[in-house]
Subunit: 576 residues, 2 copies
Amino acid sequence: MTSPLALKNWFPFLNWGKQYNQKILLADLIAAAVVTLMLIPQSLAYALLAGLPPEVGLYASMAPLVLYALMGTSRALAVGPAAVTSLMTAASLGSLGLQGPEQYIQAALLLALMSGAIMFLMGVGRLGFLANFLSHPVVSGFVSASGILIAASQLRHILGIHLHGETLVELVPQLFQQVSHFHFITSLIGFSVILLLVIARKWLKMALMNLGLTKDIADIFVKAAPVVVLLLSILVSSLFELSLKGVKVVGHVPAGMPSFTLPALTSTTVSWIHSLWIPALLISLVGFVESVSVGQSLAAKSRESIDPNAELRALGLSNLGSGLTGGFPVTGGFSRSVVNYDAGARTPAAGIFTAVGLALAALFLTPWLFHLPQATLAATIMVAVLSLVDFSVFKRTWHYAKADFSALFFTFSLTLLVGVEVGLIAGVSTSLVLLLYRTSRPHIAVVGQVAGTEHYRNVLRHSVIEHASVLGLRVDESLYFANSRFLEESIASAVTQHADIKHVVLLCSAINDIDASALESLETINHRLLDSGVLFHLSEVKGPVMDRLKRSHFFEELSGGIYLSHHQAVTELTKE
Amino acid sequence: MTSPLALKNWFPFLNWGKQYNQKILLADLIAAAVVTLMLIPQSLAYALLAGLPPEVGLYASMAPLVLYALMGTSRALAVGPAAVTSLMTAASLGSLGLQGPEQYIQAALLLALMSGAIMFLMGVGRLGFLANFLSHPVVSGFVSASGILIAASQLRHILGIHLHGETLVELVPQLFQQVSHFHFITSLIGFSVILLLVIARKWLKMALMNLGLTKDIADIFVKAAPVVVLLLSILVSSLFELSLKGVKVVGHVPAGMPSFTLPALTSTTVSWIHSLWIPALLISLVGFVESVSVGQSLAAKSRESIDPNAELRALGLSNLGSGLTGGFPVTGGFSRSVVNYDAGARTPAAGIFTAVGLALAALFLTPWLFHLPQATLAATIMVAVLSLVDFSVFKRTWHYAKADFSALFFTFSLTLLVGVEVGLIAGVSTSLVLLLYRTSRPHIAVVGQVAGTEHYRNVLRHSVIEHASVLGLRVDESLYFANSRFLEESIASAVTQHADIKHVVLLCSAINDIDASALESLETINHRLLDSGVLFHLSEVKGPVMDRLKRSHFFEELSGGIYLSHHQAVTELTKE
């Protein structure tokens, strides 16, 4: 066990760096080559989804990979633009009313810096537990709805039509108006790419294996399929000069490395900061949850574990790096990390090599991208995100628990119809209300003596002896603000139902903590009982709880006594 | 036990109405007379505090009292304008940028209607538990800060100067600028009234008893003191015609009953609704917490209890009534309810008689109020609210628990410096984060066999036998979204620390519930363990949990088995 402040906890590369050798280097280099090939189209596509120029996608994939390699605890996680966070970026920037692409890029940088700062500070403050605000039904409802929204938004590129807005309420009516104006060649490319990618995903591997190829070689073909389709599109597009026939292409992508960027602090950026802090917080939470789930899955395969708070610091730094080098919000993506792992990455150094690969692409490959049709990128996104949409979860959750279903349903429908932020906030609120409801009603049992023993058990479950003048109550939960008022009400109503009692003894064997609200409630209960002529006692109070109560004035005010055992309390109080 | 839909639960007067007789009538009439005398100045003062014309205070005290009498479950609670809700009304209306007193009155009606609708719907939906969002440190920090803000805001009337704004940041600099322009006669009246009221509160009773009066008669004098001071002020003000000498007086108060009012649904009111729903929600929560605490205290004195959800419906209806009859948000006030109880009110009918008394005052007494100095009303408020300010709670809470102190401190300082809404929201957020933190880390013990028994206990607390290949873990909490990720992390790190294990057995004896998030986590744990070559088993699963799990596909996917007892699991798994 090392101290939480140890340098190794902050910079995990100090651990794996020492054991680095030629064999690991080779494995990492191969993985990096595979991931680089995959990331080039993916980065361009997610920049398009976020509403940004294509090169921004490449920039957002370099610095974050290097920074994550220094501070991250997962060996295989690959950090960069991801589908859901790119959609959230588009939605939050779309609501700012920005003028021109220059402002859009500036605001995207700012959003990355803000998300990075939030994540980093959460990590330093060990606030990783805040991700629990996103319960599983909320996350799956949100991800499914996001997948549908992303697919809907990409229809504009695939059909070659104009669509504005981010929600189904905005998109669907326009789609009906515009669909007849679709651009034939663009659509042909879009749907051909979708078809090819789906075939590659579903049948290519089996077909190749039937042709006698080994599983590993077939796998390589499947993984190379998107790059092949990309190259094919570029070839067709440039051969037939499709850009002159109305097909939108990526066009001129400036070659070179990203430059250092820092948004100027003008009144405009201050107003952006004001509008963007809730989106930045939501992007941080969603990005963190996605990243940590992927990271934990991969770590488990090699019996390792990751440290969520270190992950937050690393993701925070990655986003700060992205914001400072012309990028936009990033997270640990699912598909790129799995490919990285499967391709044999052994250490985060693979991420550094991938960053080098992408830098080379940014320096030398951008002229080749000129003829790449936007429809091809949109089709790549569409095939990727439709795997996010999972309708079976609705049926499963409905059968399993109605409360969870309501959180799922609210999140899903509000995300689709009102927007990603409202959907997520509504989901989190539903989860919190459910949490409060769940914790606000602890189990409280009236206890009586099991004949012939000194045990006291629930009168509803056991045949026990009760005393008319002494009411014993056991609370099966620590006492704190969420349930302290319920305790007041329960004791008040228990006393109303037992007319003859003179003593209430609270059996505290299951109480591990009493917070200030609960202390206040105990004092209130004590006074109210006294007002109605009943004394209030405690029994079997645990040591730490006792210590804490001694720091208050409770014992001076308590009308009754403190008893080591409940039996002792009952014996003494019935003797009188 | 009656069904929750029984008519009696909805209209508690059906219970007490049957037993009504002459003796109870007399007691109720006497209490009503005392409370009416007290409410006339108090209603005017709280209207002034909310920034409304004085008659609005009287209107807000009539319909609510009658409606509460029909649906409320507390016998002594008196509903009407209260200090903290009036301050919140002023703050939320102040931020609307309203033009002229007519708009101000319209917006106040709307706020009462909205709070009423929120409370009523919360009551019908049995959402009373939502008041738990307001933990005790948050409430006491908020009430203390509100008391200070109210006192500071009333200085304008006492000194006869101009002050704008609602927070200390706004008020204090103006106070320093303006204090030298104070109006002499106004200040003389203000401070004299404060002095008289403080003397009456602190020493009058003892002085009168020393003079030979009985305790009961001395009590009546003390309670009559504010009315006497009020009459004295009117007398002095009209004799010396102070209104001509620059002393602000209440002035013309229209005589008569309130008329039925309903704000027109224009684009202006729609924009108000948009801005006011969070303030209305906060006023509802604060009003409900205040009312229910007072109601429970008084009910306990006669060994009765109140029904929080019925209280919400009754308060909701009272606020709707207030909004429809020219009033503003109301709640069950502390001082008026205690006076009502002490004066011997036996049933809510006392409230109806008080409403009649106030109606008579509105019809016939308003001309008498012309000369009443505003400084007298402000002094009445100031003396009343300073009893709300409690600094000792800071020291007590600091000693008792630092987490609670942080909630208290944030709420108090942000309420004072930024405003009531931000303060309250920050406090609630702090409480929620603390709740999440508390529930996100359940106690998880590695268990081993107590030698010679079939018991399995915590390896850290007992000397037990462990098996290298089987890891037993006991979670002392139900599994749900707030702690499901922690379970994933704990199991992942436990497996990392035990290199030789082949089986993980989760001892479920303390698990009462597994929600959809936790189910997902269990499936994830199952897959991750399988990925690292470890089988996952459950033991001692409770019946209801088992039933629920059977509605999912979990058992089909589970790599290991389900065992009735933990001992059985360990025996079978170590046999292999």
